[in-house]
């Protein structure tokens, strides 16, 4: 799980964090913190699906489930585990 969290954290930092921003940690609020908006969530979901070869149903890809790296990793684990 920690390895996955690092991968997700690195991706979010690279793709969504703007210059001069405070660094993220596993529990930084991403959606509620305004770092990733609802439209940008689509590309984040796509990254996770490509990276881990999974399909995340739309009803599971909620702002709540995507709000922190920890929660995202937890969601991904659920679908990786089902393969």
């Amino acid at each position: 799980m920690e390895g996955m969290k690092d991968v997700i954290l690195e991706y979010v930092t690279k793709e969504y964090l703007e210059d001069d921003s405070e660094p993220l940690n596993y529990d930084t609020p991403l959606i509620s913190g305004g770092i990733v908006d609802s439209f940008s969530m689509v590309s984040l979901k796509r990254f996770l699906e490509n990276k881990y070869n999974i399909q995340i149903p739309d009803d599971k890809a909620t702002p709540e489930a995507f709000d922190t790296v920890t929660k995202i990793a937890s969601l991904v684990e659920e679908f990786v585990g089902k393969k």
Binding site: E18, S21, I31, S32, G34, S38, F39, S40, S43, P63
Partner: protein, 567 residues
Amino acid sequence: MSHIGSYEDRLKGFSWSIAEQELGYKAGDVINIGWYCTDRVCQIGKAAKTALIHEGISGVERRYTYDDIRLASNTIGAFLRSIGLKNGDRVCLFMDRIAELYIGFLAVLKIGAVAQPLFSAFGDESLFVRLSNAETAAVITQKKHAFKVRKILDKLPHLKHVIIVDHDGKAPLRDREVAFSLDDSQPVDNLEVYPTKAESPSVLHYTSGTTGQPKGVQHVHSSLVSQYLTAKWVLDLRDDDIYWCTADPGWVTGTSYGIIAPFSLGITQCVLDLGFFAEAWYKFIEKHRITMWYSAPTAIRSLMKAGDDIIKKHDLSCLRHLASVGEPLNSEAVVWSERVFGRPFLDTYWQTETGCIVISNYPGMEVRPGSMGKPFPGITGTILDPIRNDPYRAPGKIGLVGLKFDWPSRMRTYWKNEEAFRKKFRNDWYITGDRARMDKDGYFWFVGRDDDVINTGGHLVSPFEVESALLEHPAVAESAVVSKPDPINLEVVKAYVTLKPGFAAGKDLELEIMNFIRKKLSPLAMPQEIEYVDSLPKTRSGKIMRRILHAKEWGEEIGDTSTLEND
């Protein structure tokens, strides 16, 4: 009893002078929106009244009285003047929904400059197009967004100042940058407000069309008259209301009804600087006892999707009146809100160019779920025959929404694009670009856009802009952008692309292109799906036939293909 009372009675002998009298304004007087939203409200005895309750991302709450925003807007205004900004200069506000955005907007207007708010999620290319077209003199922004301005600075010779409102000294200021802190500035009690008149330019909002670059919609200070009255009669804003408009001031709803209307009415309003989050939104309503809530269909559908159980955890009995804006409100959402909140969201119809609500549902008037409602008193609306360009005589026929162009907040032109402005009229009717029908009782019913503009989450995205940006990606040879249906956002952007030799179609490339557009233009413009094709449908003259792709996405009849290149 609502402010509007009987809609039918209000139609008789209507005059905008109702609003002018309430504002204490006479034709020919000085009229400055910034002054009306601050100084005047203080003068009529509301200086100590809470104007703004702001809650930031970290949950930190700050309250501002009308005297606070009067002083703060004076202070910012004085600073802007001190660095050489003056009336007529375009000043862009490029910030998240922080207090400086709302107050800074009023400050720009107070010095007679033109406020140019831009959505803070715009990428550098979207920013460049709008700043260069407007020949913007200054950008007021935050350190987190300054890097986008830096990327394009060399291409903006008119841009003299980049004002950073939260500079913390950790990194040095760069070329043309200057720091300004509202909290650390000495409050300015007296600012000479520039004596703008009815036709003085006030706000410049950019809007996307099918072809060409986004156009600057030019508004004037007398827009206040219709923004004030429509807020009073449609949103039914009352003196003791706690109001929440969820729109970002980067868009016209966020300025017309998120700043100008509520402040000029002397209302208390709340701002939540947070993206969509059902639990947080309901908590916010409960905490501040919000009574009037003006939101968007995308958000409402997201709330529906989040489920009713969350609502039960909060006391939302404070909600008195609800309204919706940005795109047609589907009937399911109207019925749902009546069930869970005890009242329906009233659909309101207008656009950047109209500056205020033009067709709407009203308190006390029968709501027909799914209908846009009826024209606001004083506004003449019709459905035009698109061939004859005259109003249909019989109800029920689908045609173009047309308006007699004579209400105070109508745009005056497109910035440096009179030709595009003239094209908005047919037989002296202003064409909104939407198709609708009118029923026998005068209710309007939205059918669709008359052009290829994509309305996603209530915001217009130009396929042309996205296609142009796609062509800048090294892998893309040709592109066509259309909308595809979406249960939450109504429609989202989809791109069809052909690839250059040496590039392989695949999921990783799709994601790379999506992120490329997201960062270059905005998250709204990002295609949510990219489909690789060997070729795009074109006419024999080489024009891409988007309507064929559109029909495929929406399950519609493709129509005439006789001009198709490879038919």
